[in-house]
């Protein structure tokens, strides 16, 4: 695996000129992802920010085969593409290995696409599923998803006089993926490119399904400066809010240990979506999030020692 930037391919399969928002780290993340390819690949994109902003007819930002079918079925479409190429190869009507990568946002993965993803993982298709997680339905205007952090303000979990933001906790996507006994699952952050690219490559290389869950801050929805997306993504790791780890054939490994974490408050205060938590009557929520972060990291440490 590469250890310096120079070793990366200079080929850019996501062309400039797409219409993602200023400061959105998703294109950066996708460019990293595509630099991890080992050969010909097809990308299946669930409906979402990335899809609508890169394919507005008659233009396209994609320099590799790219397919969008619907919102909840990227993993099912990927299953079909994988099976199609497999059948055609076996029957002598296709001559090259094509890697299949499905990409969806948190809405398309944690919520509406979870069934299709579970089915595809259970069936064992050889493909990589990537979730870029910006913790809400950003494409439709910042509505809460099953991935939104407890307490966060979204347009469907607004902090009101009675209810101070989202009341439910974020799902553990990797635990769900790992429960399918797949060969590879990992978290990734756009702020740690080397870790990210290495994981995407591993996910492609394993024989069978792989899942990568990447944190991609959203300046519009998280209410931070567009220039600070990478910094926020880094803070998410440094506070242990979004630990970087991988699970290879069931074996957990923290790929970027955080021995001396910053308080989660340092992350929360960078974002307007948590502003209301800093009112005296809501401070308990920050403490609750800190306890959630600590509990998850402890669990991860234990799992990585198994």
């Amino acid at each position: 695996m590469m250890s310096t930037l120079r070793e990366l391919t200079t080929e850019e399969l996501l062309a400039p000129g797409h219409r993602m928002c200023a400061g959105c780290p998703v294109p950066t993340f996708i460019r990293m992802t595509l630099k991890a390819l080992r050969g010909p690949a097809v990308l299946v994109n669930a409906t979402g920010c990335l899809e609508v902003s890169t394919s507005i007819y008659p233009y396209t930002a994609w320099r590799l085969p790219w397919v969008h079918v619907a919102f909840e079925n990227a993993a099912a479409v990927a299953s079909g593409i994988e099976a199609g190429f497999k059948a055609l190869m076996r029957k002598g009507r296709w001559d090259q290995k094509v890697d299949v990568i499905a990409i969806g946002g948190d809405g398309g993965t944690f919520d509406i696409g979870l069934q299709a993803l579970s089915g595809a993982l259970e069936r064992g298709h050889d493909f990589l599923y990537i979730c870029y997680d910006n913790e809400a339905y950003m494409n439709t205007g910042i509505q809460r998803s099953g991935s939104t952090t407890f307490g966060a303000a979204t347009t469907t979990s607004p902090p009101g006089a009675k209810i101070p933001g989202k009341r439910e906790w974020k799902k553990d996507l990797i635990a769900i993926a790992v429960a399918h006994d797949i060969p590879y699952a990992a978290t990734a952050s756009v702020a740690f490119w080397k870790d990210c690219i290495a994981k995407v490559r591993k996910g492609i290389e394993v024989d069978g399904p792989a899942v990568i869950h990447a944190i991609t801050p959203c300046p519009r929805g998280w209410r931070h400066e567009p220039s600070e997306s990478i910094k926020v993504a880094r803070l998410a790791v440094q506070t242990r809010f979004f630990p970087l780890y991988e699970v290879e054939n069931g074996k957990y490994r923290i790929t970027l240990p955080v021995p001396n974490p910053l308080p989660v408050e340092e992350l929360l205060k960078t974002q307007g979506r948590f502003r209301h938590l800093f009112k005296p009557e809501n401070r308990w929520m920050i403490e609750a999030i800190q306890r959630w972060v600590d509990k998850n990291y402890e669990r991860l440490l234990k799992l990585s020692q198994l």
Binding site: S55, W66, V77, S79, G80, A83, L88, W94
Partner: protein, 391 residues
Amino acid sequence: MKRIGLTGDEAIAYAAKQCDVDVVSAYPITPQTIIVEKYSEYVANGEVDTEFINVESEHSALSACIGASLTGARVFTATASQGLALMHELLYIASSLRCPIVMGIANRSLSAPLNIHGDHSDMMGSRDCGWIQIFAENAQEAYDWTIQAFRLSEDPEVLLPSSVNIDGFIISHSMEGVEVLEDEAVRAFLPPRSGACAVDPRRPSTIGPVALPDYYFEFKRQQAEVMKRVPVALERVCREFNRISGRRYGKFQSYGMDGARTAIICMGSAAGTARHVAKALRGKGERVGVVKLWLYRPFPVDELVRELEGLRSVVVMDRAISFGAPFGPLCSDLIGTIHGKLPKLKVLNAIYGLGGRDITEKDVEGLYREGLRMAEAKAPMVRVKYVGVRE
């Protein structure tokens, strides 16, 4: 050619087996399940070289079919009722992305209340989805149409998905003698799909983009145009199929239309009953006929107008209700078809057989009698009635 005993479901599965399908992606649902069960047996016994994807829902079934079809594979699936309803959004996407998928549908009612028996509500709920929609009367037709549907769908002039519909239980589960072709004959009629990969990394393209008000309409307008190419291609396919099978298909099949005053128009298994009753009535000198529609979408407008020209009245049998609409779906299509072309043709719309309710000879005879009465000068132009239901 040999004759074997097959149910409607088995006939579709047998046809798909002979069509050398590359990928099947399907989910069980009554009364279609036998199709996927039989096909799974073929896979397990090595009788076919197919990737069989046992998906977790019909939604994923059709999603995976779309993915597989884009690689250039020949793709088959089957469903019914709630399964077809769950596929709904993908039906439109499959046709819009020009995926020549073939789907067997054992037509069944829609919930609620839950009912597993045959009617056409499921397909009628999806009649505008841009698929070629074919209705077979019996197991033989189901077999023949499945093979022809692959040729038609994959025709480079067409590239649209097709559904082959059979009445749930009445046809799907009834065993009949079916004349099947030799494997080699089907292979010669339907060579493997080739050169059809839309996701070729050597020629990258963007499939399923966003198209806003400045382009979307043109996409849809072109799709409407493609539908117009189907009838010509269908004739070509049916002609060639006739050569290998001796059986001639087309957009519809008529019986007793010479000199008929009234005729029943229907789809699926009811056509057999209608023909049987027409035969008896004609024996008594009644001038009645039957038009059994094979091709429901695209609707064979001009040909039907010619076929119905001499009639005084027509009885349109709908095995579905279009709630709140003036007629059942088939009748709405027919009235649109004859408007301004056959201004004197009177129309009786008979809605029958929902949730597997039997349609009897007596019911059909009653419809013919009523059709003949409507042919009289003083009768109203249009009537809608429900047949065989407690009201």
